[in-house]
Symmetry: C2
Subunit: 214 residues, 2 copies
């Protein structure tokens, strides 16, 4: 598999398959068919097989289905779930706090290890996750070997905080600040701009589109 | 322009251009070149021109640039900014609250008119936005002529709340619940799953990709 030839949509579907597999496993299932996986996330069985083979996952066959355990191992390995994936949250205002308390993270693997804020004593934190001052970021990131950060700072602070985050050694940022940040040579950025997402939705509703834009 | 042939990426760029145009206008600028717009959001000038012409916006030329006022009017009309865009937030927990207090919404046009929760008296609301019981949704949506909702409910409530939202007459949903909802014939869904976005980021960092996946 060439990781560069993977697109974001099929990568997200792979994460989705993984979540479905966990649920099926919890129900005691041992085998699953591509039709089932497709039904669960709303795509065709052919799409499921094409996605899996794109990631080099070829265990299982049309007739006998996939072994859930085996498929789960393969998907987890592809997604990097063999290691624990640590995240920091930079900016512990309402949005940062909501993310630190978000219940949608998978139970295993992914873990928010620290929050950072200009004024950590003012933050009403949940007790599970320690909150530090921004200037401790480099130390914590290095000690905890963190590579990914979620940025939830105000627009006015975003550019400056992005510098800090990169200097601390972070390689990937999920940015919720309304300022569009650009990936650098050492740090990838995925901007999640809620206002832009809403605007797209208004557009689709205005023109009565019957399916989401690709 | 055929609204269906527009893709999500160019639509988001259009929103981005609009934001840049507002900022330039605030600085007293009258004209702008496609190079400037491109630089501001990190794409080529040719991309800017192609995006604008895709949306049927052809005012302006390579040599003289675009009139900011005229371009802004065109972009706003395309995005449906001639009308006020009302939104409701369904689920007023930490995430819903963070969104109701989000500072990244554009000053004009977009407005959160109400929040809904199973237990509105328990919610610590900001005072600008009234919070109602779920069973008042149909009335408010109809009175306020709201067509778009943001769903920030727990995974366990998502499917049921999605039914309610549709019955209330909502045509587009931005879903933050970790349950992947599917668009129906009458209601479009855009799922924003923070865990999946993080997982994509881990993947990209793991394989040291140097630019975001398309």
């Amino acid at each position: 598999m060439d990781a560069k030839n993977v697109n974001r949509t099929s990568l997200k579907r792979l994460s989705n398959y993984k979540n479905v597999l966990y649920k099926l496993k919890a129900l005691g299932f041992v085998k699953v068919f591509s039709d089932n996986l497709g039904d669960a996330i709303g795509v065709s069985a052919a799409q499921v097989r094409s996605d899996l083979s794109k990631f080099g996952i070829t265990s299982g066959n049309k007739k006998g289905g996939y072994s859930i355990d085996e498929l789960l191992d393969n998907v987890k390995e592809t997604l990097g779930k063999d290691e624990i994936q640590k995240v920091i949250v930079v900016g512990c205002g309402k949005m940062g706090n909501a993310i630190m308390n978000y219940s949608g993270f998978p139970v295993e693997g992914m873990r928010i290890v620290a929050g950072f804020d200009t004024n950590p004593t003012m933050v009403s934190s949940n007790e599970r996750i320690p909150i530090y001052c921004l200037d401790e970021m480099e130390r914590i990131v290095s000690e905890e070997k963190v590579r990914v950060a979620i940025m939830t700072v105000p627009e006015s602070a975003a550019a400056q905080v992005f510098d800090l985050v990169q200097r601390a050694g972070i390689k990937g940022v999920l940015n919720f600040a309304p300022l569009q940040l650009r990936s650098t040579e050492t740090c990838l950025v995925n901007n999640i701009n809620i206002a832009l997402e809403l605007e797209s939705m208004f557009y689709m509703v205005k023109y009565s589109l019957t399916r989401p834009l690709s």
